[in-house]
């Protein structure tokens, strides 16, 4: 419960203080979001002159669309892989860095900086290394008789997008895992060491369970990252191709709306994405509430 606060008595001032934030929220958040909802049940004619109310036609159109269904599957596998891979790598690095405390500080600086790199730039970096004409990794692969061309092969394009997204996200997860590890009392670890538990056993029976609140929080954040922030990676590396292999939902909303000019369809996709965010936010807050009760 919020305790009774000492407050000021002023009739006008609080509204004036809130005005900027409320104005921006209404104009750039609430109004556009309601427009998305509204547009998603309308069908515009090709010239944008008139629109008719079509109930849920836009939704049934996109859900029967082969490409959109593929995009749903791609997004699901993509976010699963990105979340799993970036969290596992980060956990491994955090556990190791926590073992070697002194040099750990230097390591920490060397591991956290990629968080400052934009996802789009991460895309450009790996695109350069793998591009079929000048890339050195693709060259290396070719010299081993492996034909690399992510502009042609769906699997390779998908791998590259996942890899670049993971590369950028490891540092973020690392920071939280390291903070989580450092808050575990050393006496717990020592007690189990006295009982003769090996380092691996100590990790699985003590450290890992104690990290579960951190892990749970990170799962939500990483799914959000994979769903939305990876737009830059996809746009820089593949542009959704080849054959829609990397056409994740957020990229498709942008592409259909701005390149395809399909406003109704794009709005319907936005509404579905909105549903995803709302669901994730609710999960996150459920979790925070639970944590408070501990």
């Amino acid at each position: 419960m919020e305790k009774q606060r000492v407050v000021f008595n002023n009739k006008v001032l609080p509204y004036m203080l809130l005005a900027p934030q409320v104005a921006i929220t209404l104009v750039f958040f609430i109004w556009p979001a309601s427009q998305s909802l509204f547009l998603s049940v309308l069908q515009q004619d090709p010239f944008g002159l008139s629109s008719t109310f079509v109930w849920f036609d836009n939704f049934s159109t996109i859900f029967t669309d082969e490409i959109y269904r593929k995009s749903l599957g791609t997004t699901a596998i993509f976010s699963l892989l990105v979340t799993l891979a970036s969290m596992s790598v980060a956990l491994l690095l955090a556990v190791l860095a926590n073992r070697v405390l002194f040099t750990g500080r230097v390591y920490k600086t060397l591991i956290i900086w990629p968080y400052a790199v934009a996802t789009m730039v991460a895309g450009v970096l790996w695109y350069f290394l793998f591009n079929p004409t000048a890339g050195i990794i693709s060259h290396l692969l070719k010299s081993m008789n492996y034909d690399w061309n992510h502009g042609l092969y769906e699997g390779q394009a998908f791998f590259l997008v996942v890899f670049a997204s993971v590369w950028r996200q490891v540092s973020y997860n690392f920071i939280f895992f390291l903070a989580g590890l450092q808050s575990i009392p050393p006496s717990l670890i020592e007690a189990s060491a006295i009982d003769g538990a090996s380092p691996f056993r100590r990790f699985w029976t003590i450290v890992f369970p104690l990290l579960s609140p951190t892990s749970f929080f990170l799962i939500v954040v990483n799914v959000v990252y994979a769903f939305f922030d990876t737009f830059g990676v996809v746009d820089a590396i593949t542009g959704g191709g080849p054959n829609h292999a990397t056409d994740i939902m957020v990229f498709k909303v942008y592409h259909d709306g701005f390149k395809g000019l399909d406003y109704g369809g794009s709005a319907a996709q936005s509404v579905i994405l909105m549903g995803v965010v709302i669901l994730l936010t609710i999960i996150q807050f459920r979790y925070i509430e639970r944590k408070v009760h501990y």
């Binding site: 002023n10 750039f28 600086t109 730039v121």
Partner: protein, 281 residues
């Protein structure tokens, strides 16, 4: 006692160094490429040591730009800087005063406003791009700094962070200020603001990086090259269709896009980590 196991320590260092190598490798190659001529880069495989075109390439992008984009990277850096600082300062100011109103006043519809701000957590740019674009277009804000900054400036997370912090300020301070005859504005400036310094610094680091690295929004609303940010400029340099990408210039620009936020993170590591762990919880 936790026993020291030398072989385990050795493997520990080995794996961490391997991880760091994977993190640094693409930046190293990018740097090397930015110091060579295009011909050298295209002669597969490109050299793994820096060449002597460093000054030439960086001067070219900073002052002239590439063939496909008619604006210099120097200009783009200024645009990115304006956008990042505008978003960081704007968000902090707006959230500070909004949180102050929510904590230190009781007024009608207080809860309503609280939820109105709260709900924006669920509406990232990506889910409302088309209508937001239309609003900004109707306001005549395409290709303007206001258009780049304003729609990204409201933030529920910053408001909640400050609200949380204000609620931890002891009541006695406010009482004392009132006894001394200080009004709400005086109390805010003399007491609350100085106390919030560390929170503001931590938030600033996070928001600067957030603003500098914005991509989708500037991609939509900047068609005039004069308003390109770093990332948009790089994207346009890559979009040459059938032509040859000027890799040496793209790579130099990429380095310039990476350096400012990385410096901020490394230099202000403490504030950065504090900001990250506080805003996300």
């Amino acid at each position: 006692m936790v026993r020291n196991q030398p072989w385990l320590t050795f493997i520990t260092h080995l794996i961490i160094l391997l991880g760091i190598l994977v993190l640094i490798f693409p930046i190293y190659v990018t740097f090397v490429a930015s110091t060579h001529t295009l011909e050298t880069i295209l002669s597969v495989p490109m050299p793994m040591l820096p060449g002597n075109e460093l000054i030439n390439n960086y001067l070219t992008v900073l002052t002239a730009g590439s063939n496909s984009v008619g604006v210099s990277v120097g200009r783009m850096m200024i645009n990115s800087l304006i956008m990042a600082l505008g978003i960081a300062f704007g968000k902090i100011v707006i959230s500070l005063i909004a949180a102050y109103a929510l904590v230190y006043f009781r007024f009608r519809f207080r809860l309503f406003f609280f939820w109105l701000i709260f709900i924006t957590l669920m509406l990232p740019v990506e889910v409302r791009i088309l209508p937001t674009y239309e609003v900004v277009a109707k306001m005549g804000l395409l290709n303007s700094y206001t258009g780049l900054i304003l729609p990204l400036i409201a933030s529920a997370t910053a408001t909640f962070l400050f609200r949380q912090f204000f609620m931890s300020i002891p009541n006695e301070l406010c009482e004392a200020a009132r006894v001394d005859g200080a009004g709400p504005i005086r109390f805010f400036i003399d007491i609350v603001l100085p106390m919030s310094r560390t929170s503001i610094a931590a938030l600033f680091v996070i928001l600067f990086i957030y603003g500098w690295n914005q991509y989708l929004w500037p991609l939509l609303i900047t068609t005039d090259e004069q308003f390109y940010t770093m990332l948009i400029g790089i994207k346009r340099m890559l979009d040459v269709g059938e032509g040859q990408v000027e890799w040496q210039l793209v790579m130099a620009s990429t380095m310039l896009a990476i350096i400012p936020p990385v410096i901020v993170v490394v230099q202000m590591q403490k504030q950065f980590i504090q900001g990250l762990t506080e805003t996300e919880k």
